[in-house]
Amino acid sequence: SQKIEQNSEALNIQEGKTATLTCNYTNYSPAYLQWYRQDPGRGPVFLLLIRENEKEKRKERLKVTFDTTLKQSLFHITASQPADSATYLCALARTGGFKTIFGAGTRLFVKA
């Protein structure tokens, strides 16, 4: 069955360091992958989208890589800040946005 896995353990890092979150998947052929941020009691907020033919995408302090051979995406937050503390979700979708599936998320804590 289709499966998407993210670090189940919370990630604790010091302010200023780079946070790296992992998203692995099996039995799925995505057309694109998205990363979202979710704060408690709120809906997810879109951060980045990367398509299957792209290797890397950047936006300000965020960087995402996508390796369809390894079936893995890495999400990096550089120069992390306490305000970056949240749960980060990865999501896969097929062409047309069909069959979107989300991972369970990784909780990130950035300590000052």
């Binding site: 057309a31 997810p44 979700l89």
Partner: protein, 113 residues
């Protein structure tokens, strides 16, 4: 621009009762999604609309859940009758088209007693 609106924000019902949730997507967004998010899990897609047509409802428990999107704008999701395991946050999202990022509403937290 206004975001995705959902109501109510919270709902508490007894099992076997009915409940309905409403969603107003971002203006001009053709695609609308309903998700169920159980505590500690990621959102699970229930149904996807393209304008007012259903394009994917493979994970919608059709014996108790129904959804419609009249005139390709607002949407309602209904549960009848509710079960204890339906306790979750129901999220509505919209996107400009099917291959774009999704914008989520704040969700409706449902508690079934």
């Amino acid at each position: 621009e206004a975001g995705v609106a959902q109501s109510p924000r919270y709902k508490i019902i007894e099992k076997r009762q009915s409940v309905a949730f409403w969603c107003n997507p971002i203006s001009g967004h053709a695609t609308l999604y309903w998700y169920q998010q159980i505590l500690g899990q990621g959102p699970k897609l229930l149904i996807q609309f393209q304008n007012n047509g259903v394009v994917d409802d493979s994970q919608l428990p059709k014996d108790r859940f129904s959804a419609e999107r009249l005139k390709g704008v607002d949407s309602t999701l209904k549960i009848q009758p509710a079960k204890l395991e339906d306790s979750a946050v129901y999220l509505c999202a919209s996107s400009l088209d099917r291959n774009n990022e999704q914008f989520f509403g704040p969700g409706t937290r449902l508690t079934v007693l």
